[in-house]
Symmetry: C2
Subunit: 275 residues, 2 copies
């Protein structure tokens, strides 16, 4: 297999020559097994030995399809994003706010299905479907009268808002799963022990006051989606204000780069690119 670049695997380049001993498993099977295990038990239970055992295969057999554990996780992440990239671009005639909100929801639900993506340390891999997701997030803000840089920032910030909220929301479930203790006992132990033993109401006046005013009453899981909806709506409101009033960037930056680009290559996939 050509070790030209580790990105080859993400972009499906390593074409089999047909010669040599045939592999007992496909790369798709390996990635699927990893996905299943991560969905069920989290990233910290994704050991190469465990994945190999799930497939009934020796450990080192995995390394014919992935170049490392981290490479496997990269493939898994890109495969996960393939779930939503099919219907992410704005539909014809769909208002930009509806499209952006729909994208935010899709990303949110993807993170709910695969929370390990959020607890994965490094950046998203530059795979085709991750890039597809990022590209789609730019689309709703393209022709609404924002300057190009504002357009880019608006989309990146929306993505980050969803990611941050999802991370906050899923991390506690993740912790519950990791420690093995059930959700009920976890919270009951927190409630029983933490508040009376450590929390000092006068030290944290804002939370205390909000508590007594009922600000933390939402107990159902769906209310957690409410916070996404509200935050996205508020943020898009802010973008809308920017469009109608101080926008003035409709044609300021259009076709500015028809000459010689200051950097060779193409667009960066993520916040800012080279800095």
């Amino acid at each position: 297999m050509g070790d030209e670049h580790h990105l080859d695997l993400l972009w499906g380049r390593g074409a089999a020559t047909g010669r040599g001993r045939p592999a007992r498993t496909t790369r798709e099977q390996v990635v699927a097994a990893g996905l299943a295990r991560a969905d069920a038990a989290g990233l910290e239970d994704l050991s190469m030995r465990a994945v190999a055992a799930d497939l009934g295969v020796g450990v080192m057999a995995l390394y014919t399809h992935v170049e490392s554990r981290e490479g496997l996780v990269a493939l898994m992440i890109d495969a996960a994003f393939a779930e939503i990239t099919g219907d992410l671009y704005p539909h014809p005639g769909e208002p930009w706010r509806d499209a952006a909100a729909r994208q935010a929801r899709a990303l949110w639900e993807l993170y709910a299905r695969h929370p390990w993506i959020l607890h994965h340390g490094s950046r998203l891999p530059m795979g085709p479907h991750v890039l597809g997701m990022e590209d789609a997030f730019f689309a709703p803000f393209l022709d609404i009268g924002l300057a190009p840089a504002e357009t880019a920032n608006a989309a990146i910030a929306l993505r980050s808002l969803v990611t941050g909220l999802a991370r906050d929301s899923t991390s506690e479930q993740d912790q519950v799963r990791r420690t093995g203790v059930g959700l009920a006992e976890y919270w009951s132990s927190i409630n029983a022990v933490f508040w009376e033993r450590y929390f000092e109401e006068e030290r944290y006046p804002s939370m205390t006051r909000l508590w007594y005013e009922g600000g933390f009453e939402s107990e159902d899981v769906l209310a957690e989606e409410g916070i996404l909806e509200r935050a996205v709506e508020a943020y898009l409101d802010g973008i809308a204000v920017r469009v109608h009033s101080g926008g003035s960037g409709q044609d300021a930056g259009v076709a500015r780069r028809q000459g010689a680009p200051s950097r060779a290559g193409g667009p960066p996939p993520s916040p800012g690119g080279p800095r």
Copy 2:
């Protein structure tokens, strides 16, 4: 030391009795050594052996101060947040938007100093300074005419927005540090290899168009702070709209909970609390 609860360590409860062999290091020293190492080399280089070697101490000596590696990281995170909790609450007379923006900046800069906090998998530990930060973030939104639940959501979403943006921005520097390759070569290799070998302009039309329009031109590091400023401003604009027009929640939920609370204890420190 009483192993009543792992939270005792975070809240500084384990008081030394004065008897027995005195410890050669203090818990503060251990946490500081861990902080220094994580700041310099990231969380994945924070091994117990390395921290012990930095202190000139045997490995197991650390376990008299921390109960595990994860407990050490929790202490480190709480210690890091202590850097900003001193001046986080709104100043007297400070407009709520200024206070919220200032908090967002402070959190952003904290993450820039300690990016490993963002790449840490599980949720923030329930330490006194983490709680202090969370409490302060609620304060600006308290008396601006939002319903209690909206107040809580607004603060949580602002925190998540900053965290998400910071995570996106710092993860690539983190990746550079982890792989050992310098920033310049990293990006030059990305630029030289990626765009011409993998990227297909017709497959990612939004990014391609934004690129040609100059949407990704910000090359300086400070521009990265611009994205935070812009996103926070947009979000706070959305909150402001909510306050002045459709708010109507000024007194809807005040003092609703003076009777018997539906849950025993006190306010939850984080999004939603028990669900």
